[in-house]
Symmetry: C2
Subunit: 764 residues, 2 copies
């Protein structure tokens, strides 16, 4: 066997000799690749418009509903690379979501419904927080259609911080939408049901079933929804749908459209035609137009009825106070989308070929003049459709949603049956362009397209269940988000992106530079409350304490060990484990899993995560770090020893599997001294360059310095044992000293490579 040269001088040779090899050119030309792969010039152009070289950044960040996965996901535009799934309504182990005590508390508050624990969500419409109608990149919100809820996600760490349950709805769809300063968040009901959640027979549908819209108050300082300050409006038993907040001249108003204003109740097995027939019979449904600023005052003044402890403005109050109006709209619409200047809104009835542009000026004028066309069955004033319209335009078969361009008057409407996107001018009512998309388009999104200043450039078409765009993966197909270039006069299809999990319903996209996520937490943070955890620990202060019937384990994790490494408990005890990640390096997330107890944590640098669990049986339960964190990751392990009930802790000494002598010690020391030589040469390389000009390198050097300090501590221990002639401990601590040297070298070599690749200069 050759000598195992452990990080010897050859390291330096490799480190320095590589650049020439790496930069070697590929043998094939672009023409050859195009020919081989059957690409057209148009394809190459599209490829060049979407490709991002290693280390590059996307221009926009899309936040997409994860549909029935109950999650939200994040992708870059134009690369269409999915960057993260954020756990929201469904427990997700990678993030420890629904596994650590901290996130369980968030979920529990939002998941106990009807004496049942809900473990999924049907997410629909993500929304970014806004300031003066502009996306500000601070928070995001997402709804659950199945079990009406709204979740708050903090864009500083992309974590779910709060889930609120709607107190009166049993179904919803049209939310969340935020007011221009994120004072309120709309959630609109979908299928009517009694607001008091009692049982009334279907014969009382018209009297007892109701729709509703909830205005959730958002407390920007706390970054949480204030449930007590939120209120709802009782609405007729129509199926309310999407909503939007006014802005500019229409600020203070919100719109919520609807379908099935026929108030039809199906019953196929009773011989009745299905819902789909009865809910599509009338030519028009209604946009609900609500003066929410006035409604907030009315709610504040106490003119509400408490339903399930929640403040509800009843219909008669809303009518009396002049808060609520109806405007007819072509039947069964999807979107109601207000223009960036707040002067118009566009609705398209999906069973019509037209998009209808409504003028707020006309609508306000009608309301001011009390020029109503009639009332609905519940007494709500109805405006005249013709008098409210700016105009209508035939845009295609099955128009659904509309998004705005940065260019004035330009909009894009998704066309379901024709499988197209239509670009049109809503001021002058003129179709400008159409592009085929691949089947079953629902929503579409332009960059910041529902804010006061849309950014144009790109459009994403959200197509469903794409049967033949990708390699087949069984009967359940991925979705297809198609990226379209809208910078020119004609739309150009750039990219087909498969969505591998869930059926995304809607996406919002923000300029990437508006997001400023943090890279680590302040040491000992409970990331769900954003406060210091009462269970945080520092290295050297780890302890196991029995208190109030719990075995509290205050531990730490760091490359490459978990402290404590041995946890001894008795069968039947309940353990409350608290682990703090004491790393300063930003990519040093550690995980924690233990056999047989459903304990699984993700602990990012600075985070404290807890798991409280009962120990049902005696036995031996290994635990380990689940996140590949360093070369010695596999050795980051421990054992929970569970004694049978009533037995005593054993005091017998461990029998060493391998014994070490002075020869072993000397060999290890020799190796460590050689390794220190390598480290010194790397340190020399770095400090002789302008490394302080590179923040990434400064981070690596900080981390390397930490590791070197740890190495010094182990060196000291080793020397102390050597002085006493305890070669077993002297050798093992010398090995630990070496392990810290390896981590130092790892960081040091990364820093050196970075400097080489990024043109660092020699300094004195």
């Amino acid at each position: 066997m050759k000598k195992c040269n452990i990080y010897g001088l050859t390291a330096i040779a490799f480190g320095l000799g590589m650049s020439a090899m790496v930069n070697s050119a590929s043998a094939k030309t672009l023409d050859e690749v195009m020919k081989e792969r059957g690409l057209t010039q148009k394809d190459v152009l599209a490829a060049a418009k979407t490709y991002i070289p290693t280390g590059g950044r996307d221009e926009f960040i899309a936040l997409s509903s994860g549909g029935q996965s109950g999650q939200v996901f994040v992708y870059g535009i134009p690369s269409m690379r999915i960057l993260k799934y954020i756990a929201v309504f469904t427990p997700e182990p990678w993030q420890g979501y629904g596994f650590d005590d901290e996130s369980k508390a968030v979920l529990k508050k939002g998941s106990d419904i009807n004496d049942t624990t809900i473990t999924y969500g049907d997410t629909h419409h993500p929304a970014f927080s806004e300031t003066k109608g502009e996306y500000d990149g601070e928070y995001a919100f997402i709804n659950d259609k199945a079990n009406p809820r709204i979740a708050v996600i903090d864009m500083k760490d992309f974590e779910t911080k709060q889930i609120v349950k709607n107190p009166i709805m049993s179904s919803e769809h049209g939310g969340p939408f935020v007011s221009p300063n994120t004072d309120y968040i709309i959630q609109a009901a979908q299928y009517p049901a009694p607001l008091d959640r009692k049982h009334y027979p279907l014969s009382q549908f018209n009297e007892k079933f109701r729709g509703a819209v909830t205005y959730w108050k958002f407390d920007r300082k706390k970054g949480r929804i204030d449930e007590a300050a939120s209120f709802s409006l009782e609405l007729p038993p129509y199926s309310q749908d999407l909503s939007d907040f006014g802005k500019g001249p229409s600020d203070g108003w919100s719109l919520t459209n609807s379908f099935c204003t026929e108030r039809y109740v199906g019953g196929i097995m009773k011989g009745r035609p299905p819902f789909e027939a009865g809910c599509s019979q009338k030519d028009t449904d209604f946009v609900h137009m609500i003066n929410w600023k006035k409604a907030a005052e009315v709610a504040k003044a106490g003119k509400t009825t408490k339903i399930n402890g929640h403040n509800v403005i009843m219909m008669d109050t809303a009518i009396k106070e002049g808060i609520l109006f109806l405007i007819p709209e072509p039947k069964s619409p999807h979107g109601v989308d207000i223009s960036p200047d707040g002067k118009f809104f566009i609705v398209a009835g999906k069973l019509d070929t037209h998009a209808s542009v409504y003028s707020f000026a006309k609508v306000f004028d009608l309301i001011k003049k009390k020029d109503f066309a009639g009332k609905d069955a519940y007494g709500i004033p109805i405006l005249d459709l013709k008098k409210s319209l700016h105009g209508q335009l035939s845009v295609g078969l099955g128009p659904l949603h509309t998004q705005y361009d940065s260019k004035k008057c330009i909009v894009y409407t998704s066309i379901y049956v024709d499988s197209q996107v239509t670009k049109w001018d809503y001021c002058n009512l003129k179709v400008l362009d159409k592009i085929h998309i691949h089947y079953n388009i629902g929503h579409l999104v332009t960059m910041e397209g529902d804010s006061v200043t849309p950014k144009g450039k790109y459009l994403v078409a959200l197509n469903k269940l794409t049967i033949d765009r990708f390699n087949p993966v069984g009967p359940l197909h991925p979705q297809n988000h198609q990226l379209i270039d809208i910078s020119g006069d004609k739309m150009q299809l750039l990219y087909d992106m498969a969505v591998p999990l869930g059926e995304p319903h809607y996406v919002v996209a923000i300029s990437a530079d508006k997001l400023k996520p943090k890279v680590r937490y302040k040491l000992g943070t409970n990331s769900r409350t954003d406060k210091r955890s009462e269970f945080r620990t520092r290295p050297g202060r780890e302890k196991i304490v029995r208190k109030d019937g719990l075995v509290h384990v205050y531990g730490t994790v760091i490359r490459s060990h978990i402290t404590p490494e041995i946890i001894e408990v008795e069968e039947g005890e309940t353990v409350s484990l608290h682990l703090t990640n004491v790393e300063r390096a930003e990519d040093e997330t550690h995980g924690f899993a233990i056999y047989g107890h459903n304990v699984n944590l993700s602990i990012e640098p600075g985070k404290t995560a807890s798991a409280t669990f009962k120990v049902p049986n005696s036995g031996v339960f290994p635990y380990y770090c689940t996140e590949f964190c360093s070369a010695l990751h596999l050795e980051m392990q421990g054992i929970m020893m569970v004694r049978p009930k009533g037995t005593k802790l054993e005091n017998a000494a461990l029998k060493e599997g391998t014994k070490y002598t002075k020869t072993d010690y000397d060999k290890q020391i020799k190796n460590n001294v050689a390794t220190q030589g390598v480290i010194n040469s790397v340190v020399k390389f770095i400090t002789e360059r302008n490394f302080k000009d590179f923040p990434t390198v400064v981070g690596l050097v900080t981390d390397a310095t930490d590791q070197l300090n740890f190495a010094a501590e182990s060196k000291k221990k080793s020397e102390n044992f050597a002085a006493k002639g305890d070669w077993q401990n002297a050798t093992l601590w010398a090995q630990q000293w070496f392990q810290y040297q390896v981590k130092t070298a790892d960081m040091g070599l990364r820093a050196k490579t970075y400097l080489e690749q990024n043109g660092a200069k020699k300094v004195k």
Copy 2:
């Protein structure tokens, strides 16, 4: 208001007039795009090598472990688009996995461990089934490190079919690996623990703690693991690690390497050096070399000890029977990778700079001659390292895993500390090329690289927690799979792919043409057993039956209604809902969610899915289809009416929300007749073309014909009611007739567009 022209003749105009618009060229040239986006020629070349135009297919399909997400995911190479997350160990609502009764049964069998329900997994090594050492694309397998399990995934529908729990291990890592004909699947233990799962104090570590390797018998006909025919080998309390099966000359043998053969037990809080030090002290660890064919015979002959009901060949038997040998290997290795011809295997100790190439010929010769260097503490013969080696080569700092190229003698080794991939010649022991990857590489994969015929072309480097390659998304970073072109002499980096969920540990990649997934199930299939469901139903046979204390609901789903639409039960009853998707269209998956009962199903065409749930409270609970399935998706709804306990079913008639007259009926009929005109013109267009040459169109036409037949049924009902002067029902059934026309038109227009875009020809 303009007349709502519902799918009138303008449809045809749009349908025909679009192609000119769509094909318009973009304004920008490639040079302009390169300049604007800062792309080099090398970047454009890489973009051209990875970009797949709309509808194109990837050449290889990667199956990746989903790490701590507990799932497996699928992506295409070279596009690096993630196509699907397959739910395995963690409940996942989009797929209904862990929500429907059928998948719950799979999960339950695999998740009850230590009187605890495990709801996550830490997946590590996916493996494809093999025939004669070649990937055959039939099945895939994946392990859970945290709670030792193996799952079977059927590549026909990409669904998890079985999870087996390891009966003796409390930790594992090295599995699954399959034998050349998938007779057996290896699962190797990781952290030692007593095999009988009893508690023994740590002072008895050497005597009572054990490692092991399990050989799971795979029944290819059933597509399931045969637990009773599986067996294990007891191994010393080393930390066993990765494994591989021999092939060709080494067929019949398997290898399992190890670390911590020091048998060190840590205990930081007791003043002991951590595991990482004690487990890295010796210069070498051991490869376990096992004659598994002989072991299978020994097990069959009953020379085993039953532990927890499972057949285990104890160490002394294994030694006596000549089944088990140890070969030293540089300490703390990751991979043990056998060459395609079965003549060599490569191990790299991660704390060494060398890769070691072992010769099976030499090893077999030593075994034959009983030329042993010694025995370990448990009496297992140890071969001499030097005598077993073909040779060693210094490949870089922290070498981990090795994968094989299609070119003879060429391999690629991942280099952790240097953050590189080294290409080298293992026959002639020569470094050929190195490429920098972006940090923390663990595994790497070449196309079919661990089969007998690697396909070369591409390599994927699996890098962990990539801090600066993508837009930041908070303290928990995505992983980075880097695609490298290995077709030329020099490796070329092509693409950085973000992994948004879980930390993938290993990937296997198969030629895409080997996978033949189905697009729909035979009507009424339980997809988890692959058998016809006893709960399947056909349209018109839906029923609600109370039996054995359950309310069985036998229902169907189809565009755009759920039958039954009303389910009436009493508080406290238990409902067992069975829904069959009766669609023939392949993209017509329907979902099902109901408020407040944690019921959530995904029902692909042909599938029968069930949900059994208790109804805890009275009230009104809307349900709906969760998968956007047609224009009338939102109207695909129903209501579960839960009466208070002891109350009677109400017989009062429904009060219609809207009344219809003969005028409404006549208007609807006029509309339907006009729509039929559109349909006829589309039918004419299609049938005048060679549509039968296009399978996609044949599928669409089949579906459209189904819809048109449904339309005829509704038409008849409408006419019957009209004859009786019942204008309410006549109008609503006429509307339903129209709804089927819309679905027909939807399919017809898709077919027409497809024919136009794919150069169909006119025929007589």
